[in-house]
């Protein structure tokens, strides 16, 4: 029977030949992930269960990335809980500051998530790993606690939506713009409970970094997972990193999709999502005059080395507008070092931007760049909900790193073409 890549991965992890959308199954998991916000609840529940060991100390990842370096006493206590748990149960993949990066950039970089795997994370952007051809989805802390005990979790097999992209990408148009455009088209609940499968020549030509940006934001359309079938680009990325064997699945040509949409990207411009929903997208040329106070370039969506290179390309030889603050957050220590070695820091500092250590920080209004009343930010992050980056009257506009960098120079939202 013909199946999608999502169905094939779930079938393989449930010991079945085939599965159907709507079917309930229990799947073996290859990795369970939690961070410094969600792990403490999972650990509390795990300890309540009086279980003496975790199902596999090598298949749990604990990444304290949201409020680290710790922003206050309570956030320090939460990491202490994680540290203590990691030590007590011999959790191999606990990342201390210095090795810690933003979870969804760090784990693929370290080869800890691979094609064909089932990964659950107590973080909604766990769906990022679908870019590698894995089934990856966000769950709550209770599910992580149960998974740490049993090594499996129940799922309803999702319906799949096929989203195909054709045409030639314009300059400055990136994976971020493709996914923002898509969310603008289908809406923030347009894929609720479903698998978003990205296909077509445009996707095949995208580097891994852009693919990860796209899968990362599948949750912003309500999806259970986003996924891209592995190809040579994927294999080139994982082959030097993988520490265990993996299986690359592909959707069958006649697999069933609940819905199919095709996008001609030829005329697509960089996209900007207006407050307070990621679906409020406009082409950058139709933004109008929106003065801004801060630009943030980073996060699990756009904190990779390719994103920083793009920002540096735009910023080179320019200075950030006098009314503006520019914060750049390399997502992992490896990216941080790479950016430093490539001279990107010089460009950022010359432009009067500042470089933060790896952290989720301002993306969720944690720290390291909180907005005051009525302030506006342009950000390469994933959510522009009410009060997301600070005060409830502040505003967040989502864009790609080139648009964010150009806007930092202009002091208002604008295109790199205007520089």
């Amino acid at each position: 029977m013909s199946q999608t890549i999502t169905e094939k991965i779930l079938a393989a992890h449930a010991g079945k030949e085939t599965v159907h959308p709507g079917e309930l199954l229990s799947a073996r998991i290859d990795l369970a992930l939690a961070n410094d916000i969600t792990a403490p609840i999972a650990i509390e529940l795990f300890e309540q269960s009086e279980t003496s060991s975790v199902f596999d100390p090598e298949k749990i990842a604990l990444v304290p990335d949201h409020f680290v370096p710790n922003k206050d006493v309570n956030s320090a206590k939460q990491v202490q809980v994680m540290r203590g748990f990691a030590k007590k149960y011999g959790i191999k993949h606990f990342f201390e500051l210095g090795e810690m990066g933003i979870e969804h950039v760090l784990l693929p970089e370290q080869g800890l998530v691979l094609p064909g795997e089932v990964v659950i994370g107590a973080d909604s952007h766990t769906c990022t790993y679908g870019a590698l051809g894995a089934f990856a989805t966000g769950v709550g802390s209770t599910d992580i606690a149960a998974a740490m005990i049993a090594g499996e979790v129940w799922f309803k097999v999702p319906e799949s939506i096929k989203l195909s992209y054709e045409g030639a990408l314009q300059k400055w148009v990136t994976g971020k713009d493709l996914i923002l455009y898509t969310i603008g088209d289908i809406g923030v609940d347009g894929a609720t409970y479903k698998a978003m499968e990205f296909v077509g020549p445009v996707i095949e030509a995208l580097p891994m970094s852009d693919r990860m940006t796209m899968a990362n934001m599948a949750i912003e359309a309500g999806a259970k997972n986003g996924i891209i079938s592995p190809d040579q680009v994927t294999l080139d990325y994982v082959s030097s990193r993988a520490k265990r064997s993996f299986t690359a699945y592909k959707s069958d040509p006649d697999a069933h999709y609940q819905e199919e949409r095709a996008f001609d990207v030829s005329k697509m411009e960089p996209q900007v999502a207006f407050p307070h929903l990621p679906e409020n997208t406009r082409p950058v040329s139709e933004v109008g005059t929106v003065p801004i106070d801060q630009a943030v370039i980073g996060s699990c969506t756009n904190g990779r080395i390719e994103d920083l290179r793009l920002a540096a390309q735009v910023l080179k030889g320019h200075r950030v507008h006098k009314n503006m603050r520019l914060i750049i957050i390399p997502a992992t220590p490896t990216i941080y070092r790479q950016a430093m070695d490539e001279g990107l820091f010089e460009t950022f500092l010359d432009a009067k931007g500042i470089v933060s250590p790896p952290t989720c920080g301002p993306c969720l209004g944690g720290f390291m760049g909180i907005l005051g009343p009525k302030e506006r930010a342009i950000s390469t992050t994933n959510r522009n909900f009410l009060g997301r980056m600070g005060h409830s009257t502040s505003e967040v506009y989502l864009a790609n790193p080139a648009v964010a960098a150009a806007s930092a120079v202009l002091g208002r939202i604008g295109s790199p073409e205007e520089l």
Partner: protein, 164 residues
């Protein structure tokens, strides 16, 4: 089992950052989280509500983050249940796992007003607005899920079952 309470109304796409803003996610105490529930849209929400009150909202309630603190904050504030046109996926699962009853019922967003007296029957899924005498229909909550809610969440339910 029936739930009765006074209605607090919210719109579409109420996200988890509105339900409980991230700066408060430095505790696992639901009472503490409850003090900041809905703060960005209604800073006095937790002080205004009475224990047992009900949230009624539009579509895609609970979209955004996977933070289980969201249903914890709603429960901690004293809300008895949430009735909405639809729920986001992770929030739906987290709510039952944390023992917060939620009901998906078409028409509630337009048909129910703030301050109305509402009753929700978990066994039948029938929702009655006693103020304007309107009725709505949600999926009933099956007995084992009600057991989960009574125990206070999935883990407490499993432990109770194990102890027999």
């Amino acid at each position: 089992m029936k739930i009765e309470g006074t209605v607090w109304k919210f719109g579409d796409n109420i996200d988890t950052d509105v339900i409980i803003p991230a700066p408060y996610l430095v505790t696992t105490d639901s009472q503490e989280l409850g003090k900041h529930c809905m703060e960005p849209v209604d800073p006095e929400f937790s002080e205004k509500i009475q224990a047992g009150d009900i949230i009624v909202a539009g579509k895609n309630f609970g979209c955004g983050s996977s933070r289980e603190h969201a249903p914890m904050a709603i429960k901690g504030a004293g809300i008895s249940c949430v009735v909405a046109e639809s729920f986001a996926r992770i929030f739906f699962r987290n709510s039952f796992n944390m023992g917060l009853p939620i009901f998906e019922a078409p028409g509630v967003s337009d048909g129910i007003d703030p301050g109305d007296r509402l009753s929700v029957d978990q066994d039948t899924g029938e929702i009655i607005d006693h103020t304007n005498d309107k009725r709505f229909s949600a999926n009933p909550i099956p007995p084992f899920m009600q057991g989960l809610i009574e125990a206070g969440g999935l883990m407490a339910y499993m432990l109770k079952k194990r102890q027999g």
